[in-house]
């Protein structure tokens, strides 16, 4: 395919939708990594995939199904109020099993299922774009409000408690935010693509950011850049988007790691 077609009307919509998600997901990844709950990203994505298929089978919107299931999972996790990755691991395997069973047994789910697991971004429509803009707006409002509390609770847990703040309320608010973002991203760019955009840019930002603010910029910026590279590669090589995105993210993380190791070995003046 010609490079100029990349910006044609057919691909402009998925490109912009994905760019918005690629800017937002790494920000959520920064806070999930802060809480050492990055597995939540995969759990919410898998549950969202199952919800998306369930929504399609029931004749409602797949995005509504994804949102409902992942937010219910987040609320359930918040109600149980156990920190750590065990709850997310259970959600992940249950979500995966439910999605595969639906995909294997209900013909209507088969096509959508392949799109979710292959990450076929090119099928996104205006509804995906509008929801991505909505997620961007919610994150832009909610994260600045949540950020200080989430970091304070992590760094000074007893100071946080002494301030009379409710950790549960802030955890649940953030979990719902992460679940919403992951649900809509899964419906647009697939399970592993969404997880990759949460996991890898935040990992890069943790290594090279000199402050939390700078790391947020690095995470979001690298997410958008790597997403654009992957989009162009998948388009020009005519490959499914999800795997190309994951390979691009992994290659960037590996190259960055090697470069930092080499830089660290150089003798300083």
């Amino acid at each position: 395919m010609a490079f100029s077609e990349l910006f044609g009307p057919m691909f402009r919509l998925p490109l912009v939708t994905g760019m918005i998600l690629a800017a937002v997901l790494p920000l959520l990844g920064m806070y999930l990594r802060l809480r050492e709950e990055w597995l939540a990203a995969l759990a919410f994505a898998q549950v969202a995939a199952a919800g998306s298929l369930g929504g399609a089978i029931l004749g409602i919107s797949s995005q509504v199904g994804a949102l409902t299931c992942s937010c219910t999972a987040a609320a359930l996790k918040g109600y149980i109020a156990k920190a750590g990755n065990n709850g997310y691991a259970l959600l992940m395997i249950v979500g995966w099993a439910a999605a595969i069973l639906m995909l294997s047994n209900v013909p209507i789910a088969e096509h959508l299922g392949h799109a979710l697991f292959d990450g076929q971004l090119y099928f996104t429509g205006y509804d995906h774009l509008l929801l991505a803009v909505a997620v961007l707006a919610i994150v832009a409002v909610a994260l600045p409000w949540l950020s200080r509390k989430l970091i304070l609770e992590q760094m000074f847990p007893d100071f946080f408690r002494a301030s009379g703040l409710s950790a549960r309320k802030f955890h649940l608010s953030f979990d719902l935010l992460a679940a919403s973002g992951l649900a809509l991203a899964t419906a647009s760019i697939g399970v592993m693509g969404a997880f990759g955009l949460v996991f890898v840019p935040s990992m890069i930002a943790y290594r090279i950011g000199q402050s939390w603010k700078q790391a947020l910029v690095v995470a979001s910026g690298s997410g958008v850049c790597l997403y654009c590279v992957a989009f162009a590669c998948a388009f020009l090589l005519d490959q499914p988007f999800g795997p190309v995105l994951v390979i691009t993210l992994s290659a960037a993380a590996t190259l960055g790691y090697v470069a930092l190791r080499l830089y660290a070995r150089e003798p300083r003046a």
Binding site: I151, M155, R161, A162, S163, A205, G209, S211
Partner: protein, 213 residues
């Protein structure tokens, strides 16, 4: 180590403790009142304890390892279980608590300035040997520098009651002297409770002592 028979003894400073009548006339309203407290986790670790802390007090909590000094502070902030008695905080009192354990950094890219902003602490007034470093990531600082920033984040937070748990750990002598001077400055409009094994430090800063064990 459990020792349910431990009782606290409040020891006055250089002057004799005031009588009950004098105390009510001269002392400010207590920010925290501890009444027959037994506190711990799975089982009581400390108690019975009864005392009050008011603005202007710097109470040193002394005693050997395991008598429940840190547990007492954690009970005041609600992080330890209260088995009997009560901790009564003045309505609206704001508390800063410096925990003994080191910060859970886990490679979090947080700068010193951002750490202070978390608690609302003012970086102005930091000593010159740490002030230029607050733009650095916390995991690039030494243990002593990190400990000092952690204490500063609590000392300069906009609160009225400050609880410090072993603040001089890893801090070098100039840092300890700086802390002594800063606590003396803060005393007029704050109350402090300080757990420490550093008796010289406690002698320098405390108006009263609570002896456990």
């Amino acid at each position: 180590m459990t020792n349910p028979s431990i009782s606290g003894r409040l020891i006055g400073g250089a002057t004799s403790p005031p009588t009950r009548h004098e105390e009510s006339a001269t002392r400010a309203q207590p920010l925290v009142r501890v009444d027959q407290l037994h506190a711990g986790y799975d089982r009581p670790v400390v108690g019975p304890l009864s005392f009050e802390v008011a603005q202007g007090d710097v109470v040193g909590v002394r005693g050997p390892n395991g008598v429940g000094k840190s547990t007492l502070l954690r009970a005041i902030v609600g992080a330890a279980r209260i088995f009997a008695g009560q901790v009564v905080l003045q309505p609206g009192v704001r508390i800063a608590y410096q925990q003994q354990s080191t910060l859970p950094l886990n490679h979090v890219p947080l700068s010193g300035r951002e750490l202070l902003a978390l608690t609302g602490a003012d970086p102005n007034g930091l000593p010159p040997w740490i002030s230029p470093l607050i733009g650095r990531r916390l995991d690039r600082l030494s243990g002593g520098q990190l400990q000092f920033l952690q204490i500063w984040a609590c000392l300069k937070a906009p609160v009225s009651l400050i609880l410090l748990d072993e603040p001089t750990n890893n801090v070098d002598p100039p840092g300890v002297r700086f802390l002594e001077e800063e606590i003396a400055r803060l005393r007029a409009d704050h109350a402090l409770m300080v757990v420490s094994h550093d008796n010289a430090f406690l002698d320098a800063i405390c108006t009263r002592s609570l002896q456990l064990g």
